[in-house]
């Protein structure tokens, strides 16, 4: 049985110039990072840019990475920051629905789940970010606080408000259908 190398081992080898190690690290985290970028931005082409940019920054800063910390969390933090940065730079902070793709990027999902993720895409960037980190990537509120440099209380309040928004959007959609 071939033993899977730890992230820390791969990081060490990549720092020393091992392309194989860098490629394996990339392979492990690229799909997840891209999906996180997609849910955060709601747009495929923007997810490409965000994920690529995040990987470039992460690998350029590999010498500063603290091996005692999880690589995935560190990378996700960069993805989140790049996504927020890019959206702000393009002045798409408010109303992502205005620039949303003509076709929902969640076309592989059932109608109910697709509707929910479309609703997530209409949340403000701050609330959308904590929703994706909490329910998409499985971070606890404390971990999200560490990732975003926010007090845990602020994370919890953003989550609560995001859930309120989503409930309201769903109720409005139900009422509209009725």
């Amino acid at each position: 049985m071939v033993r899977r190398a730890s992230d820390a081992t791969l990081v060490r080898k990549a720092r020393n110039g091992s392309r194989d190690a860098a490629g394996e690290l990339f392979g492990r985290y690229w799909p997840g990072a891209w999906r996180a970028a997609l849910v955060l931005t709601g747009r495929r082409e923007m997810a490409d840019d965000v994920a690529q940019d995040a990987f470039e920054r992460a690998f350029a800063a590999l010498s500063r990475f603290d091996e005692s910390r999880p690589f995935g969390a560190w990378l996700h933090r960069i993805v989140v920051n790049r996504a927020l940065d890019l959206m702000r730079r393009e002045r798409r902070l408010v109303g992502l629905d205005q620039v949303a793709e003509p076709e929902s990027p969640w076309r592989d999902l059932g109608a109910e789940d697709r509707e929910l993720l479309d609703a997530v895409a209409t949340l403000g960037a701050q609330r959308r970010t904590v929703v994706v980190l909490r329910y998409g990537l499985g971070y606890s509120p404390t971990e999200i606080g560490e990732l975003l440099e926010l007090p845990t209380g602020t994370v919890n309040s953003r989550l609560a408000r995001a859930l309120e928004d989503l409930r309201r959007i769903r109720e409005e959609a139900d009422a509209h259908r009725a």
Binding site: R15, D48, S63, N81, D108, L117
Partner: protein
């Protein structure tokens, strides 16, 4: 207990099988900035390399020695490589998230989506990972969000904020504020909450945090190093020893080692006070006095002290300091500096304009000019993340 909506969110976000396009994957993989691979060298090239290194070291030693240069007729105050005009906007060094410098009453800072160039300020410091820039501006302590979303006044203060130190955690900020003839040390949280006075009478010296956020070292108004244990809320005032008084402090990035500098010396600080002093810049060059301008950890075991025109690498061993390397900066007067990963330094030179340069820590060879700005007035504290 997750609600039905939370369960549905978890299911929907994990169920999406959206896959990144192969073209994007390949483009990202091709763009990965990889470290150059190490090459094995044979014995003959190794011998040749050693010979070259000895020749080069002899040349560097000859050039780095002011006495030797005077003997062979070189003017130590003349830059060997006169600067061409450099960037007016502060550039971020390779591999860093952000950089900031205060020069006179102006600041320069660049991180992520924000670049501030020449704005009025009294203190500046980047947060860990450069997500925020803490700025002393007038009577305000301000946090500028580097994602471009604006800024927030954390505290309206009694007087000018003259020094800022962001905790590694990075929740808390220590700052020194001028209050009439005195300086006060405060702690505040990064969102502006829970401001509290720690010491009503300190020196205008940047405090330093222990790696675990459990202790803060600062300089009292009479020059003593004070270590404040933040877990047990008690302080230890240490004898000044050889420092007379302390003007710079730097906790090691791991462990308990605290290094302090006075005007012309550097010392390991222990519970017994400042011991094992290593004198720096004892021979002032052409009227430049020798205050130690910067103290920064190059590695977890090596500290760099910049004083006069000396850039010295020192290694604490117990309560002693060993000099590993001592170089002379010939292109100008160093007024600040900070370490970078990869054995590099960012040095601020007042020469006579303020120039920020990224250099190799072992040779001081310039890798890049980061800023070309009007001259600094005195020290130019540098913050790099």
């Amino acid at each position: 207990m997750p609600t039905e909506l939370e369960q549905q969110l978890e299911r929907a976000l994990s169920a999406t099988r959206a896959t990144p396009p192969e073209s994007a994957r390949q483009a990202a993989l091709d763009a990965l900035p990889l470290a150059p691979p190490h090459r094995r060298r044979g014995r003959v090239p190794l011998v040749l390399a050693l010979g070259m290194a000895i020749l080069l070291a002899s040349a560097v030693t000859l050039y780095a020695s002011p006495d030797a240069r005077q003997v062979i007729g070189l003017d130590t105050s003349t830059p060997k490589h006169p600067f061409k005009p450099g960037p007016k906007r502060l550039q971020v060094p390779a591999g860093a998230s952000g950089v900031a410098v205060l020069a006179g009453d102006r600041m320069w800072a660049t991180a992520q989506a924000v670049s501030i160039n020449g704005a009025k300020a009294t203190a500046v410091e980047l947060s860990p990972n450069a997500l925020n820039i803490a700025v002393g501006r007038g009577r305000d302590l301000v946090a500028v969000h580097t994602n471009g979303s604006g800024e927030r006044v954390l505290r309206r203060t009694e007087g000018q904020v003259v020094a800022i130190s962001w905790a590694p955690n990075p929740i808390e900020i220590a700052y020194v504020v001028k209050d009439g003839a005195h300086y006060r040390l405060h702690l505040i949280e990064g969102d502006g909450d829970n401001d509290r006075l720690i010491d009503p009478s300190v020196a205008p010296v940047r405090p330093t945090w222990r790696w675990d956020n459990g202790a803060l070292a600062y300089v009292s108004s009479n020059g003593h190093v004070v270590v404040r244990d933040l877990i047990h809320a008690r302080s230890a005032v240490l004898p000044r020893g050889c420092l007379r008084p302390a003007t710079q402090l730097a906790y090691a990035p791991a462990g308990n080692t605290l290094i302090a500098a006075g005007n012309d010396s550097v010392a390991v600080v222990t519970a017994r006070g400042a011991v094992g002093c290593q004198s720096l810049a004892t021979t002032p060059i052409r009227g430049f006095p020798p205050p130690v301008r910067a103290l920064t950890w190059l590695t977890p075991t090596t500290v760099v002290a910049i004083g006069g025109r000396d850039v010295a690498q020192l290694r604490p061993h117990g309560s002693r300091l060993h000099v590993i390397r001592r170089l002379t900066e010939s292109r100008g007067n160093p007024v600040g500096g900070s370490a970078l990963p990869g054995n590099r330094l960012v040095i601020a030179l007042d020469s006579p304009r303020l120039r920020m340069i990224e250099v190799d820590a072992n040779t001081l060879h310039i890798r890049r000019v980061l800023l070309d700005a009007p001259p600094a007035d005195g020290a130019a504290p540098v913050s790099v993340r």
